[in-house]
Amino acid sequence: MSMIEFHDVEKYYGKFHALKDINLTIDRGEVVTVIGPSGSGKSTLLRTINGLERVQSGQLIVNDFDLADKKTDMNRIRKNVGMVFQHFNLYANKTVMDNITLGPTLVLKRNKEEAHEQALKLLDQVGLRDKADSYPSALSGGQKQRIAIARSLAMNPKALLFDEPTSALDPETIGDVLDVMKDIAQQGMTMVVVTHEMGFARHVGDRIVFMADGEILEDATDVGAFFDHPKEPRAQEFLSKIINH
């Protein structure tokens, strides 16, 4: 069953054609990594899935709602589709605990104790229970990102979007974040991950999408074969640049 469907989607910023004729269907439980050079539209593609960016034409069905339809209530989509950002975007004025429980209590109307319980479990899952009362400013980048993941999971989303989740991190903290993501992937979460972590794309992803200039150039379920023998010249060029360094 499909979770996310793009049908002939086009997106413009003014005259700039950011997404060109996107067709992509992602099934429930699938882990899709999106790679490509910067400016290729990867982040834009991701941000359209929870309505942070609107599309101009085509159909974009997420969890049975059409996001291209202006009447669709975006908040309902966002309740079900979480997002993890490159720069974490934790609420600077709230403690870690409040960061995690605010969505469930305010948006899902869960009671406080229940949300608190769940938050503690999630903090265990990401290995940061002792940080419950800290403010984000007291955390390292890797810790912030793990809290941000916990915050998204607290909404019990049907899908999780990751926008370059490790790009702003110190190298030694990247591993902890990737471990948490791997863990979530193994639990069957639908995930779309924009990343430069080729190891993650290769070993955790079920499928890989290569984008350049706003287009999807390759969409491969045989991830190993894609890395060994990319078909598109642009993908060959991109991979050779990344892997030779």
Binding site: N50, L52, N75, R76, R78, K79, G82, M83, F85, H87, F88, N89, L90, Y91, A92, N93, K94, L102, G103, L106, V107, L108, Y135, A148, R151, S152, M155
Partner: protein
């Protein structure tokens, strides 16, 4: 100066009272109206934003005296009878609200875009995100410049003297005209303004410290 204070204390005190009252009303009023227009300025609806922008630009580029006179002269002529105190306080409120709108808008805009996106991404509405995440962060940034606006407001309340608003400046003018002791009178009036503005200034600094803990 002490003779002036001793002989006219009740007049000066009543002036101080009117100044305080006009300032308090204008402070609350301009904060509410200013915040409202700040929200309009950052609205995603283009026309709402344009209205907000035009209000701020027009009001802050007209002298306070002109705005106040407009209320003192035009409103009674064409609409309802209002006294000098009311006209002066309304003028002061409107004038200050434009500056507060700019201050609040700058504060909100200085909160990182990611904070709003983070909040929206868990399904919060725009209002929920504003109330829970953006305002509490913006207020800390806004306190110092807002303090400046409030102090300006108290001093600007002397505009009431031009429209017979019975404020401190107005009473001072009368005392100076009757005693011919201009120097001492205005020295006393200046001191009394300080009595209003110094605690306000101290209070704003206190808030700034208190809210900077988190």
């Amino acid at each position: 100066m002490f003779t002036i204070l001793a002989n006219n204390w009740s007049t000066l005190l009543s002036g101080l009272g009117y100044t305080l009252m006009a300032s308090l009303i204008a402070l609350v009023g301009s904060l509410v109206i200013g915040t409202l227009f700040a929200l309009m300025e950052i609205s995603a609806h283009r026309w709402v934003a344009v209205i907000g922008r035009v209000y701020v630009e027009v009001v802050r580029n007209i002298p306070l005296l002109v705005i106040t006179m407009a209320f003192y002269v035009i409103v009674p002529t064409y609409f309802v009878q209002i006294d000098g105190f009311t006209a002066g306080t309304i003028g002061l409120t409107i004038y200050t609200s434009a500056f507060i709108a700019e201050t609040v808008r700058a504060g909100i805009e200085s909160v990182a875009v990611g904070q709003m996106e983070g909040a929206r991404s868990v399904g919060m509405t725009y209002t929920q995100a504003m109330v829970q995440i953006i305002f509490p962060q913006a207020i800390k940034i806004v306190i110092p410049p807002l303090g400046n606006q409030f102090i300006n407001l108290v001093k600007n309340s002397s505009i009431l003297a031009f429209v017979a608003g019975f404020d401190l400046m107005y009473q001072g003018k009368i005392i100076a005209n009757t005693t011919f002791n201009t120097f001492d009178t205005y020295l006393a009036v200046g001191l009394l303004y300080l009595i209003l503005t110094m605690p306000l200034s101290y209070f704003m600094r206190h808030l700034e410290k208190k809210w900077n803990v988190a």
